[in-house]
Amino acid sequence: MKYYTYFPGCSCSSEGGARAYDWSTQAISKVLDFELKELHDWNCCGSTPSGSVDELGAFCLAARDLALAEKAGLDMVTPCSACYVIFNRTNAYLKQYPKLKEKVDESLAAGDLKYNGTVRVRHTLDITVNDIGYEAIKEKVTKPLEGLKIAPYYGCQMVRPGFGFDHPETPQSLEKLIASIGGEATRFPLKTRCCGGSLIISEEDIAFDLIHKLLESASSNGADCIVTVCPLCQTNLDAYQSRVNKKFKTDYRLPVFFFTQLMGLAFGLPEKELGIMKSIVSAKKVLAKYA
């Protein structure tokens, strides 16, 4: 059994929009024999917007979580690419900029906390493919996703600026993972291009353009569905797909899964446990042959 501290982040918390990601992560952890222990009383990591408004405050938000996690002494795992980049950036900057560290230390002390910079922050995909491994995953497959054509979508912040686990522009871990659960990864030239991120809220048209390009790229390369590693990427591609269709007069109906959901399906876990029904674009047709 492997143990980790778990940081779900706001989207994957029990009140968040991507709780299906959390459910499916927990479900596959039981099959693959690892345990995710949720960080007690965590706060929002600050994500990208916080740092653009109040940098010191943003570093302190992330540092509080890291200080709390340090007490457990385990690697901290997050399923969210934004949380992943924020925590890793905070770790890197606290080492690189002593003046920043001094101010963060002083602020943390006001809350009786101290952070020594020892928490290794990892993405759920990283531990799945590197700590558990493709072979161990393959062994647990009872219903291989044969013939399912899956576009492997990495998005930005899990691979960039790059904290050492896959290539920033041409990563391969999702393709290998898809192969190990019996699916077929399609070519997907835009696999590390942006989904629009949080600009979906403030600059909808810009995000729609980017989403449209991704859907077009996935579809023209023959994908039946898209697999994601990030709650925001999933929401942008899934919840806004019909409005993108309307704007561009297209008719894409590509279900957008979290990688943990597809793994769960291949392990024979019930769809309900994996939150498959929480997708806005219905997965029924695509999954019919595997039921």
């Binding site: 706001c10 938000l61 101010k103 942006c194």
Partner: protein, 188 residues
């Protein structure tokens, strides 16, 4: 001479923010601009913005819409041949622009970021209330257009009316930390 002093001051200001210091070593190759998915939407491209900042054009740089179109996709950062953290540089310009009250008036992204930060400081981002408040304060018509998307999310159990809360002691701890940070006056 006047321009030089002004120039030094603005570049120094940028350099005092972690990640901002790269502005000094840019060779104006334009790789960041060529890699940016939103460069065509910006009034000044990312590389242009660096050149302008180095020429001391503080007001023009800080009132640009460019940094507010940055998606934080980090493509420029990984491709920069000089190793400049261009994305962090954009974030530095965003926060300087807010501090100086020069925020570009035709984009609502700063309003969204501020509201986002407000909730972060309470410890949790309640998606439903954050979006509702943002749309109602910036463009009620869009709130109306969002109803179908929001309804889809609600129907699939993906929007909660209830939001997660920290324990009272966790919440007080976070408040104390952020209050202290505020008293330290930012990073510069």
């Amino acid at each position: 001479m006047v321009t030089e002093t002004k120039n030094r001051t603005f570049v120094d200001e940028i350099c005092s923010i972690p990640g901002g210091e790269g502005i000094k070593i840019c060779i104006q190759c334009g790789t960041c601009t060529a890699s940016c998915p939103n460069a065509d939407k910006m009034d000044h491209t990312p590389s242009e913005l660096i050149a302008m900042a180095r020429a001391g054009m503080k007001k023009e740089v800080l009132s640009s819409n460019a940094m507010w179109y940055c998606l934080s996709c980090y493509m420029c950062t990984v491709r920069c041949p000089r190793g400049i953290q261009q994305t962090s540089l954009m974030h530095a310009l965003e926060s300087l622009s807010i501090q100086e009250g020069l925020v570009h008036t035709k984009t609502v992204t700063p309003t969204m970021y501020r509201l986002f930060n407000h909730y972060c400081h309470l410890g949790v981002l309640p998606e439903l209330w954050f979006m509702t408040r943002f749309y109602l304060s910036t463009n009620p018509l869009r709130a109306w257009r969002m109803i179908s998307t929001a309804w889809g999310l609600l129907k699939h159990g993906r929007l909660s009316i209830r939001s997660r809360k920290l324990t009272p002691s966790g919440s007080n701890q976070l408040k104390a930390i952020l209050k202290k940070a505020e008293s330290l006056g930012g990073l510069q």
